[in-house]
């Protein structure tokens, strides 16, 4: 194990000769292998058409969208630490702003890759980039996503290039505002869908913002822990404990907004059948909602975040993993469950047809879909890995006592 000097702040060169972290090539090769398999799966889907996926004409968005939405929403939240640093001037957070921004950039790139490769005509990306329908929130999101990538690059630059450090605060504030708008836009992709019982609510956008705060912080905690181990630069205990408690607050916020969304629906007679499907008898969605999201994704991290005897680093890692597992369960219910429930085209009538009117749509994800989704995670992993190798983004040394004094 090499010992490194403990600079007061990030100071070039990133890696004094002979002290580069171990195993970069092997770690990169592992990520590249997963990414290559994912690209192969996308090519297979492209060649054969979406008939090789589990998606059809009723469940039109499936597992790739669960992965993509998770990555895009978590990207916005991964910037939490940078935002607290740049917007609110907290020194301990500011030191970790580069990791936070790098992770946000990586997650967004991964999510966009999955989204684009799932398109029926991914080669028409240039069409999407040159034809905009400004009534479409989807078109606005393309601008928001690309803008966010550009702002994140600028933010990283102002953090890593000493001459530009004074600019990091205004750029950080811009990034903070942009990410709130971006997640509002992502939530509104669903919130604006007036015809589906599971969406069509103004609550979806704030719910997505709350989810981004929780999911992004959970991913940040995992990445921070992994980078600390890789670089032999332990995360100060006090800082980890602050994030652990913050994670608990964010998870509670998601739980509150989710409860309000469902309670509102339960009050409306026209939504009763849909709520019964999601919460009681729609397999596997009700099970995923209660065991996956409410149990693993909410109760477990809440207990860990606030129980004084569960303050160790391992418990924090378990809490973060539980939040991520719960996020996938929640997104699966939200995206797939809401589509599986039949559209009510003829209120007051029982319907049947050769196109499964009135029937719950089956959806079984296929292997290529899952591999494509994992490819998004692999791309995000590779970007973080390469970024941490190329730039001095991992803070080493001791935080000033005042910075970690809070708690």
């Amino acid at each position: 194990m090499s010992t490194r000097p403990a600079p007061a702040h990030r100071s070039p060169p990133a890696w004094p000769s002979g002290t580069a972290p171990r195993g970069f090539a092997a770690l990169a090769a592992a990520g590249a292998a997963v990414l290559a398999v994912a690209l192969g799966a996308a090519h297979y889907m492209e060649e054969h058409g979406h008939v090789v996926t589990g998606m059809g004409n009723q469940v039109v968005w499936g597992l790739p969208h669960v992965f993509a939405l998770f990555l895009i929403v978590a990207s916005s939240g991964a910037l939490n630490v940078a935002s607290v640093g740049s917007v609110f001037g907290e020194a301990a957070y500011k030191r970790r702003a580069p990791v936070s921004a790098l992770l946000a950039l990586a997650l967004l790139a991964g999510g966009l890759m999955v989204l684009v490769l799932d398109l029926g005509r991914p080669e028409r990306l240039v069409v999407a980039a040159t034809h905009y329908n400004f009534r479409s929130i989807f078109a606005w999101n393309m601008i928001l996503y690309n803008g966010f990538l550009a702002i994140l690059v600028a933010y990283l630059w102002t953090n890593l290039e000493r001459r530009f450090v004074p600019l990091s605060t205004p750029v950080g504030i811009l990034a903070f505002v942009w990410r709130i708008v971006l997640t509002t836009g992502t939530g509104s992709i669903f919130g604006f869908l007036v015809s589906r019982q599971g969406y069509a609510s103004g609550l979806v956008a704030p719910l997505f913002i709350a989810m981004s705060l929780a999911w992004g912080l959970a991913v940040f905690l995992l990445v921070q822990g992994a980078l600390a181990r890789w670089h032999d630069a332990p995360v100060p205990e006090a800082f980890r404990l602050r994030l652990r408690r913050l994670l608990g607050v964010f998870v509670a916020t998601v739980a509150y907004l989710t409860a309000v969304l469902h309670l509102t629906n339960l009050y409306w007679a026209k939504q009763a059948a849909f709520e019964r499907f999601i919460l009681v008898d729609g397999a596997p969605y009700a099970w995923l909602f209660w065991a996956g999201w409410a149990g693993v994704g909410t109760a477990v991290p809440l207990v860990i975040a606030f129980h004084p005897r569960l303050a160790g680093p391992r418990a924090t890692t378990i809490a973060a993993l539980a939040v991520i597992a719960g996020a996938f369960a929640q997104l699966y219910v939200f995206i797939v469950g809401a589509q599986a429930f039949p559209l009510e085209i003829f209120p007051g009538y029982a319907t049947s047809s050769a196109f499964r009117d009135g029937a719950v749509a089956p959806y079984v994800p296929s292997l290529p879909e899952a591999l494509l989704g994992l490819g998004g995670i692999a791309l995000a992993y590779l970007i973080v890995l390469a970024g941490a190798r190329l730039f001095d983004v991992v803070p080493r040394g001791i935080d000033a006592p005042a910075a970690d004094g809070g708690g």
């Binding site: 492209e46 054969h48 058409g49 979406h50 008939v51 998606m55 059809g56 004409n57 009723q58 039109v60 968005w61 398109l119 029926g120 005509r121 991914p122 028409r124 990306l125 069409v127 999407a128 034809h131 905009y132 329908n133 009534r135 479409s136 929130i137 989807f138 078109a139 393309m142 992709i189 604006f192 869908l193 007036v194 015809s195 589906r196 589509q339 559209l343 085209i345 003829f346 007051g348 009538y349 029982a350 319907t351 049947s352 047809s353 050769a354 196109f355 499964r356 009117d357 749509a361 089956p362």
Partner: protein, 243 residues
Amino acid sequence: MNPVDTSRRAFLGGTAAFAGVALAPGILLYEYAAAKAPGEAVSSAVRWGMLVDTTRCASGCTACVDACHSEHGVPKPARPTDAQWIRKVELKDLRTGAVRSAPVMCQHCAEPPCVDVCPTGASFKRADGIVLVDRHTCIGCRYCMMACPYKARSFVHEPTAGQKTDTPRGKGCVESCNLCVHRVDRGGTPACVEACADAGHRAIVFGDLNDPASEIAQRVRAATTTQLRADLRTDNGVRYLGL
């Protein structure tokens, strides 16, 4: 007496035949011009629509479905991934037990959610109310399918075969009922309307909702008709009678 000049006769015959071949398309075009001349822009003075009389629509009859898919080269649907431009829905009133049957296709909304959400503008509405997909700019994101209240759109999940010249189709794009726009622009009626009449039901009436003298305008004026999901205020071009 001079011998008859047969070469002159042959020349005259050939000329007449040539003139006939040259003029025939023009005469046909003259007929079509009654609807819309080629190159002439469609006008919002016209609002194409259909009236489905569910009291005349026979349960189990799929003449409209078969005619539509045959007209557009869409294979007979069998799986959830197969395209369905039109489908027959069997209805049972939950309170009275009354049974109805009705075809459901793109409702050609005046305020189409699919057009609102399409990021590239591939989903669009013509001035005469026909909602279409531009196959050159559709990127296959399926957001329009998420937005459509009627499940009227299908995604082409695999390579296509047996395409018709009037209906370009392609793997990876979204498609739906185009109100047989190629027929309508030539002054004809949609294939489903024709097939329903041929089957003896006459349950679907096609015409210009804006023309007070048209059969469809008179019938929607005479009887209460229903727009599917009228609560969404999408102002559908397809109306239902007897629901």
